[in-house]
């Protein structure tokens, strides 16, 4: 699913270093890979509207949860993808 980190974003207020974020992502990657099919279906659907997406996830007690997502045009995505 992923072949390249294009950018690592660490906000100024965050205590984490870039290397910590890379390490955390390496831990998360196998878990994200286990839901690869669903992630791809979602990302492809968003792409049909011509947008990118960010997914917010957390890992707690070794469990992955997708907890939010953002696009640059929320109403457009909801209008196109969510049944009325």
């Amino acid at each position: 699913m992923v072949s390249k980190f294009e950018q690592v974003h660490v906000p100024g207020s965050a205590p984490e270093t870039r290397s910590t974020i890379r390490h955390q992502f390496a831990v998360a990657l196998p878990m994200l890979d286990s839901i690869k099919g669903r992630l791809e279906a979602f990302i492809d659907a968003i792409a049909t509207v011509g947008l990118g997406v960010s997914l917010e996830y957390k890992i707690e007690d070794n469990r992955l949860s997708i907890i939010d997502r953002d696009t640059t045009n929320g109403p457009k995505i909801l209008g196109r993808l969510l049944p009325k």
Binding site: H9, F42, I43, A45, D68
Partner: protein
């Protein structure tokens, strides 16, 4: 009095979309997020005061920490929502001040999400994964990685 809309707020519809694609369960959000209408804001403060007292008591015994992320949610907006993180009783005052600054007629809800964190857990990470054209704002307060296929 302004009549609140019955349409679910856009923020909630975002969760429904994640559920539709099997990425999250709407039941999880129903359990972890309590919604208060503008008319119920006083009840929200009472509820959170009680919950934080309980969480602080439990923390001493269970080793689990809990706090609340509260968001003032406009129905037509799902980003840039004012939010207050409540970990102590003093933080309730911050929410009260935030609420007092909101117009009475605002068609708005307060989302109070309970976050439970296991103390000493080695792998509590919260991060962003960004695909395609990056919507990542430089000002984003979340750590994240932008990835490519």
């Amino acid at each position: 009095m302004h009549k609140p809309s019955t349409r679910p707020p856009e923020k909630w519809l975002k969760y429904e979309l994640l559920d539709l694609y099997g990425l999250a369960k709407i039941e999880f959000f129903r359990k972890s997020i309590r919604q208060f209408s503008r008319a119920e804001y006083a009840s929200a403060l009472t509820h959170l005061t009680k919950e934080i007292r309980t969480a602080l008591r439990e923390k001493k015994h269970s080793g689990r920490d809990a706090f609340f992320v509260t968001k003032l949610v406009r129905r037509e907006l799902s980003i840039l929502l004012p939010n207050v993180r409540i970990k102590t009783l003093e933080d309730i005052d911050l929410l009260q001040r935030a609420i007092q600054g909101r117009p009475e007629t605002q068609d708005e809800l307060c989302f109070a999400e309970r976050i439970s964190v296991q103390k000493f857990s080695a792998a509590v990470a919260e991060s962003l994964l960004i695909f395609g054209v990056s919507p990542l704002r430089k000002s984003s307060n979340r750590c994240g990685v932008v990835v490519r296929d």
